[in-house]
């Protein structure tokens, strides 16, 4: 599995690899909002190609008295972002430089983390991933324009989920516009983010993949992110001045309980 990463072939000192890994993980962690809310299954390794859905595709195919169907699966998406680092910079790190330029790595980390969040929320049709937004059974909830209106609407959303038997805690994921509003102060003098976390019993998270927001139960069993190869960094090739690396992961996502969340729309 791991040999696809070919790290041992790279002209990169171990200390620099450690720095690369740490920088990438630090960059991605706050951007992977979906992993903070949905169930994470894996990592199962690069060998995992598909998730077993446990069903046989309906059909009336038969041949010589044998009825046959085809097992339903969800294939994993393999995502890869290539980037280049200057070898001189990596050598400088090995010599003790504390300010090396890992900009291309950070950009690659940002891209793949955004991709994962985007696929979870908005889907990826060609991979058979519907995404959270198009799977939810509740009608979207329109948020009031000001902090008080947003708090009231989220309170209604929590009540709606509880009313359907969807237990909490409930996390809230906001896109950029709503996330900014989370710092507003209510008339009662409290910060909206704190009030929302109190109402939902969960966290207020940020995802640039959302235009509006989502109220999602974090009880478990409702949203399933299956990961084969978890986010990793590998080596492709190098020339005299640069190493070409890549960040890779394989995953798929499905919603098991469409009633476990509500879309939040900006007022």
């Amino acid at each position: 599995m791991a040999d696809l990463l070919r790290r041992h072939l790279a002209p990169i000192p171990q200390s620099a690899w450690d720095e690369i890994d740490e920088t990438a993980a630090d960059k991605m962690r706050p951007m992977l909002s979906a992993r903070s809310v949905v169930d994470f299954h894996g990592p199962h390794g690069l060998e995992l190609a598909a998730v077993n859905l446990g069903r046989v595709a309906a059909g009336d195919s038969s041949k010589d008295g044998v009825h046959w169907g085809i097992r339903e699966i969800m294939p994993l998406v393999e995502a890869r972002v290539p980037f280049k680092l200057e070898l001189a910079e990596l050598d400088a790190f090995a010599r003790g430089a504390a300010d090396i330029d890992l900009g291309p790595l950070e950009e690659a980390a940002r891209r793949i983390a955004s991709f994962e969040d985007d696929v979870v929320y908005n889907g990826l049709k060609t991979a058979g991933i519907a995404g959270v937004l198009s799977s939810l059974s509740h009608k979207p909830l329109k948020l009031g324009g000001d902090a008080d209106g947003i708090a009231a609407a989220v309170g209604d959303g929590v009540a709606e989920l509880k009313g359907e038997g969807v237990a909490g805690p409930y996390d809230i994921v906001f896109g950029p516009a709503l996330y900014k509003k989370a710092n507003q102060v209510l008339k009662a003098g409290r910060v909206l983010r704190d009030v929302l976390e109190r109402i939902g019993g969960g966290r207020v998270l940020f995802s640039p993949a959302l235009r509006g927001g989502l109220l999602l139960s974090r009880r478990g069993g409702d949203f399933q992110l299956t990961v084969g190869q978890d986010l990793s960094i590998g080596y492709a090739r190098h020339d005299a001045s640069h190493a070409e690396l890549f960040v890779i992961e394989s995953f798929t996502f499905r919603v098991l309980e469409p009633a476990a969340g509500i879309e939040l729309k900006s007022g």
């Binding site: 791991a2 994470f40 995992l48 805690p169």
Partner: protein
């Protein structure tokens, strides 16, 4: 087992955890006692009784452990990783399960979900 912090300051959850851990210790102590007695007695009937009693205590310990596993996520993780494996036990510790770890090059991000 004594409390190490003021009783009044402890949450109900911490008190229950203390009760379960104390019970687990007591059950395992009892296993040890019965086992030693069974080991030395020369009366075959008494030996069978003591072994039966020892195994009853094992069942009690297992139930207490299961209760703890359901409440301590770290215990759950460790037990899933270490128990019911073949081969060298020490090698399992801290090692990723075959095909399930980030592997070399993996960033070890995994789930970022907080426990409920």
């Amino acid at each position: 087992m004594e409390y190490h912090e003021p009783y009044d300051k402890l949450s109900e959850e911490a008190k229950d955890l203390h009760r379960a851990i104390s019970s687990l210790i007591e059950e395992l102590e009892a296993v040890n006692w019965y086992h030693q007695r069974a080991d030395v007695t020369t009366d075959e009937q008494l030996k069978r009784i003591l072994i039966h009693n020892r195994d009853e205590e094992v069942e009690h310990a297992a139930m207490a452990l299961e209760w703890l596993r359901r409440r301590l996520p770290a215990l759950d993780t460790e037990l899933r990783e270490i128990l019911f494996q073949d081969g060298e036990i020490v090698h399992h510790h801290g090692e990723d399960q075959a095909g399930e770890g980030p592997g070399p090059g993996g960033l070890g991000l995994g789930s970022l979900k907080e426990e409920n």
